[in-house]
């Protein structure tokens, strides 16, 4: 009986050290898993932040500038004026098109192309249509054609982009 008690008591430290070893391993594994998860979350957050800052931010700014110029100086402003005023307004519009609008559209096209995968553009009709508009406008400006009607700028694209931005901010907890 005393011998059994002796052999049990000699096992206790072994079992205890075994348990502590296993629990140590579990703790190490768990903290490694938590750290990995944290890194994944961090990377995903960084990717969202990059999308917001490097794609949607510049895109929204370029679109805002073009929309404002169109509203202030675009063809809609020629109406109700004398032919002489229309003439000078037309020249201002042509100059702004050449110096601001067309370069902005070219930048938008490059932005969309460069962020095609990151921003999942294949799944976003409004961004694909916007890219086509950029190409069509530049072509139309060089040689006006009626095909352009299909690719004219649509105000609802901005609303869709705003929704994309809001969704990204929501994911970022902003």
């Amino acid at each position: 009986m005393a011998q059994t008690a002796d052999s049990i008591s000699s096992f206790v430290p072994i079992v205890a050290s075994g348990v502590s070893f296993v629990s140590g391993l579990l703790v190490a594994y768990f903290s490694g898993w938590v750290a990995k998860k944290n890194r994944q979350v961090e990377r995903a957050t960084d990717a969202l932040q990059i999308q917001l800052n490097e794609f949607y931010g510049p895109l929204r700014a370029l679109l805002a500038e073009n929309s404002q110029i169109y509203e202030e100086f675009g063809p809609g402003r020629f109406q109700g004026r004398t032919a002489t005023t229309a003439n000078s307004r037309g020249e201002t519009w042509n100059s702004l098109k050449e110096t601001v609008l067309v370069p902005n559209l070219k930048s938008i096209r490059i932005l969309i192309q460069n962020n095609w995968i990151r921003s999942d553009i294949a799944e976003k009709r409004h961004l694909r249509d916007l890219m086509l508009h950029c190409i069509a406008f530049c072509e139309y400006d060089k040689a006006p054609n009626e095909m352009y009607q299909k690719f004219k700028y649509k105000k609802e694209w901005v609303e869709s982009i705003e929704r994309d931005i809001a969704l990204l901010k929501e994911k970022l907890g902003e």
Partner: protein, 99 residues
């Protein structure tokens, strides 16, 4: 909305003997042939096939547009040819009829 006829008339005043017809057209004779010119309104800043059809119905055979605020589509120029409406910028008109 306004038209460009006054401004255009100033340009051709001493070069072409013409008569104003209605609000946006004028007529002149060149080499025994009568020509009717249509000047677009400012809201017709884009000369497309619809504008050409309207011009043709009005009986004009030349559409002159100022390049500063007006553009003509390729289709409109081609459609104009089929309807007998010559679409040209002011500069081209001046070179052809007023030089």
């Amino acid at each position: 909305m306004s038209n460009s006829i006054y401004w255009f008339q100033q340009m051709i005043r001493d070069k072409i003997d013409h008569t104003k017809i209605g609000e946006q057209m004028l007529r002149f004779k060149m080499y025994g042939e009568e020509k009717t010119v249509y000047l677009p309104f400012t809201d017709e800043y884009e000369i497309n096939s619809d504008v050409i059809l309207k011009v043709s119905k009005l009986g004009a055979n030349i559409l002159v547009f100022p390049t500063s605020w007006c553009r003509a589509t390729r289709e409109a120029i081609d459609y104009g040819r089929t309807l007998g409406v010559e679409v040209m910028p002011v500069g081209a008109f001046m070179a052809k009829y007023a030089s």
